[in-house]
C-alpha cells in the first residue's frame, strides 16, 4: 500500500514538473487580425507546429504593430496574448518566433521588463527568441518613406500617413532606441534570453519560373528587387544583413541551412526552402 502511494506521488510529481513547451509567432509591421493566413500562411504555421509534442501549444499573435514598439497596442497587446497563452496552456518553456519588426517589439519586452508587470513572467518562460530577419538596426527604406512624408507635411499636404512602426524603423531612430531603450546590440548589456537572428542575404526576381524567385510570391519579389537598391549588397530586400544581425547573435545566414537558397524578406516568413522544418526542428532541441 505504501509502495502504491509512493508510485502515485511520483507520478503526480512527474506530471507536475513536465515541461509544457509552447511556441508563439509574432508578426512584423501591420495591424493583423488573421496573421495565420495573411502573414505567415498555413504551410509555415503547420510546419512549425509539427515540431511540438502538443500541437495545441502554438499561438499566432495578432496585434497592431503599426504602432511604436512600446505602445499598448503593440508590446502591450503581445504581452497580453502571450500571458493568456502561457496561463491557459500551462506553458513553462516558450519559444518565440518573430519576423521583421516583431523582433523589435519582443526586444522591447525583454529590454524593459519593469515597464509592464506582465513582462517578467513572460521572460521567465522564454527559453529563446528565433528572430527571423529582425530590423534591429532599422532599414533605409523606412527613412526613404518617412523623409518624404515629413517633406510632404512641411509643404502642408500629406500624401500618405506613415505609421509609427515605420517611423521607428528608420536607421537613426533604431540607433537611438538601441542606445537608450533596448538591450542586446553591440556595447549594450545582453538580453535576458538568447535572441537568435536568421539573416536573409539576397533577392532574386529575374526568373518567374525559378523557385528561388517565386517562392513566397513572385510579385513580392519584384518589389524587393527594387527596394534592394536602397540597401547593402547583403540584404533581404527590406533590411541589410547588418541590421538583421545587430541584436543578439546570428543563428544562421539563409544559405547555411537552405541548400544554398537565399531568403528574401517575404520568403523568410513563409515555408520557403525548408524554413518551417528548420524552425520545427529547433523546437525539439
Amino acid at each position: 500500500m505504501r509502495r502504491t502511494l509512493l508510485m502515485l506521488a511520483l507520478a503526480l510529481a512527474s506530471s507536475c514538473t513536465y515541461a509544457a513547451t509552447g511556441v508563439a509567432l509574432v508578426h512584423g509591421t501591420g495591424n493583423q487580425t488573421d496573421a495565420y493566413d495573411d502573414y505567415w500562411q498555413a504551410d509555415m504555421v503547420e510546419g512549425i507546429r509539427s515540431g511540438l509534442s502538443n500541437p495545441n501549444n502554438l499561438l499566432v499573435v495578432n496585434c497592431d504593430l503599426t504602432q511604436y514598439m512600446w505602445d499598448d497596442r503593440a508590446a502591450g497587446c503581445v504581452a497580453g496574448q502571450l500571458t493568456s497563452f502561457i496561463q491557459i496552456n500551462s506553458i513553462d518553456k516558450l519559444i518565440v518566433i518573430t519576423h521583421s519588426d516583431g523582433g523589435n517589439v519582443v526586444r522591447w519586452i525583454l529590454s524593459n521588463p519593469t515597464y509592464d508587470s506582465r513582462y517578467p513572467a513572460i521572460i521567465q518562460r522564454i527559453v529563446k527568441v528565433d528572430a527571423i530577419a529582425p530590423s534591429s538596426a532599422g532599414t533605409p527604406l523606412a527613412d526613404a518613406v518617412i523623409a518624404g512624408n515629413v517633406f510632404e507635411s512641411a509643404l502642408g499636404w500629406l500624401l500618405g500617413y506613415q505609421n509609427d512602426a515605420v517611423r521607428q524603423q528608420q536607421v537613426g531612430w533604431m540607433a537611438t532606441y538601441n542606445q537608450q531603450n533596448l538591450l542586446g546590440t553591440a556595447g549594450r548589456p545582453a538580453l535576458p534570453v538568447p535572441f537568435r537572428d536568421v539573416v536573409g542575404s539576397n533577392v532574386y526576381a529575374a526568373n518567374p519560373f525559378s523557385s528561388q524567385d517565386t517562392c513566397g510570391g513572385y510579385a513580392d519579389s519584384v518589389g524587393l528587387d527594387i527596394t534592394q537598391n536602397w540597401l547593402d549588397s547583403c540584404s533581404d530586400g527590406f533590411i541589410d544583413c547588418t541590421s538583421a544581425s545587430a541584436a543578439g547573435s546570428v543563428w544562421f545566414r539563409d544559405t547555411q541551412r537552405t541548400n544554398g537558397y537565399t531568403l528574401n524578406h517575404n520568403q523568410s516568413r513563409r515555408n520557403c526552402f525548408g524554413m518551417a522544418a528548420i524552425l520545427a526542428s529547433d523546437l525539439r532541441s
Binding site: T29, Y115, P120, F151, L159, Q179, D220, I226
Partner: protein, 418 residues
Amino acid sequence: MQRRMLFLALLTALISVPACAGTHALLPPQANDMVPTTLVARDTTVPAAAIAGVARPQIHAERQPVSINWAIPHDTALQTQPQSLARSSREYWLDATADELRQGIALPLSAPGAIIRISPSDTVNGRLTPEKVQLKLGRQSLGADQATSQLADATSMRAAGMSVPAASLVMRLKPELGSGMATLQASNASGRYVVHVFEPNSPFTVTARADRDDALLGQHVHLSVAMQNGSHARPLQSVGGFLRAPDGSTNTLDYHAQADGSYTADAIPTHASATPGLWEFHSFSVGDDGAGNLVHRDTTTVFSAAVPDARFDGNAETRRTANQGIDISIGVIAASTSRYAVSGVLYGRDGDGHMVPAAYAQSAAWLPVGNGKLVLHYDAANLHGVDAPYELHDLRLQDQPAIALIERRAVAMRFDSP
C-alpha cells in the same frame, strides 16, 4: 552552552547585516554623463489633439513595482558613452504642381541608374502610368518604359515593405542613359506631386551628424552637415532645414557656412513634445560635382530630448541581502509624479583581478513628487565569479510613461563591501 553561544553569535551577525549597510555618495558625473541640473515637472495630461499625420500613442500605465536582474557575460564590452549616428544621404525630394510636371521639371542626376519615385496628392486623377511619363536626358527623350530597367507600382513596393503613398510610380533609369540634368514630364499630370530621387551609384553624399543623441529640454544640440565626393570633402553651396518635434511641430533652423565648406546649425529644444518619440533635424542641401552640375541631398538626423523631471539625489545605500545578493538603493528626486525606472550594470573583480561586468538590474516604481528611492537588486547567483570591490556602471534613470532617458552616468559608484 557552546552551541547556544554559536547560535547567538550567528544570529547577531545576521541581524547586524543591515546595520552594516553602506552609505555612499555617487561619484561625480563624468564629462559626457547626462545629469539634470534643474528639474521641471512634466505635463502628464494626455495630448488632446494630434497634428496631422501624428497618431496619439497609447502608453502603458503600470502601478506595480517591478524589479529584475540577470547575469551578463563577463567578457561583454560595454560602451561607456552613447554615440550619435552620422547618416549619409544620396537622395532628395522636391514638389511639383501638375502644370510644372506637364511642362517638365528639372532633376539633377549625379550618377547613372537613379531611382525616381513620383507620388501624386490626388491618388485617383493624379495617378501616372509609365506610357504618359517622359524623361529627357542629354539628347535622349524616352518614355518611362524605354528609359527604365525596373518599374514598380505602390502595390509592389508595399508588398516589399516600403510603404510608399498610394498611386506612386517607381522607376529605375537604365544606367546607359548616363547622368546630368534630366527633365521629367507627365502629360496627364493632375494635382500636386512629390518627386523622390535616389542615386545609389552616386559618389556624392551629404552627411549630417548631431553632437549628441540624447539631450534634456533646454540643452544645446549642434548639427554639422558636410558633403563628400567619395572620401574627399566638397563644399556645400547652401543648406536649409527645420527641427521637427515628435508631435509634428516644426521650427526653421539657421544654418551657417563654415570655412571648410560644411554648414552647422544649433537647436535648443525648449518645449515638451505632446507625444513620445525622437526629434529630427531635416536638412536640405545643394552642392555641385566640381563640373558645374548641381547635387541635391536631403538628410535626417535624430536625437531624444527629455523633460528633466527627476534626477538621482546623489546618495545610495548598499546592503548584502539575506540570500547573499546585493541591494543598491538609489535616491531619486522627482518633480513629476510618474513611474521611474533605474537600471545599472554591476561590475566586480574576477578571479584574475580584472573588473568585469557581472549582472544587469532594472527596477521601477511609481514615485510621487519629492524624494524617493529605487532599489537595484542583484541575486547572488548572478554575481557568481566576481567579488569586491564593486562598481556600478551605466546607471540610468528613465521616466517610463514618457519613454524618456533623463539621467545617465557611465560609472556611478565604487564600493568594497555592501
